[in-house]
Assembly symmetry: C2
Homo-oligomer: 107 residues x 2
């Protein structure tokens, strides 16, 4: 009834789905791209960059943060979040494992 039956699936399947869910909204894709390309991590202007309200961006950022894709650093006095590249590459690796494993077994 609208709720996913996660208990019937393997942890790997759930993991892939969780990773994919983070990327399953264009705003989050855009935010990730934007954060990554900002050299000095001044990320407060995501709201200006992407045409969504500040609460909405904050909500999307939370999804990204919960996935472990954000790390905070200090640049002088300013605190700013930055892409967790290691985690990001882990996402890529896990997805590639899924793709390779799955397509290799196909008829």
């Amino acid at each position: 009834m609208g709720v996913s039956k996660t208990e019937i699936h393997s942890s790997t399947q759930i993991q892939i789905a969780e990773i994919a869910k983070v990327l399953s909204h264009p705003a989050r894709v855009a935010i990730l791209e934007y954060i990554a390309k900002q050299e000095n991590c001044i990320c407060g202007d995501i709201v200006d960059e992407i045409g969504l309200s500040q609460p909405t961006i904050s909500q999307h950022l939370q999804v990204i943060r919960n996935a472990g894709l954000l790390i905070g650093t200090f640049e002088g006095k300013r605190f700013c979040y930055c892409l967790n590249v290691n985690r990001f590459k882990e996402f890529q690796q896990l997805l590639n494992q899924f793709f390779n494993h799955t397509s290799a077994r196909c008829c």
Copy 2:
């Protein structure tokens, strides 16, 4: 108000999000894995394999089909769907492009 503002995003961002959405449910991940590993494409028993009702599986299959990930073939008399490996690998490639492009630009 609950609806994605797709018009503000680039076609690449939307494409990545669409690909990710297909993989964003463990049942669909499981279905893709199952279809891929079936040598002779006898896929009617997905329902037995995965613990979900036939309508629910059919619904998930439609999402997978709409993404272009299913092709139908004839094996003797039986029609059966099979993973579209080319499209599947295209998904992998597009995701890798996104990951490589994004992580390369990070601070």
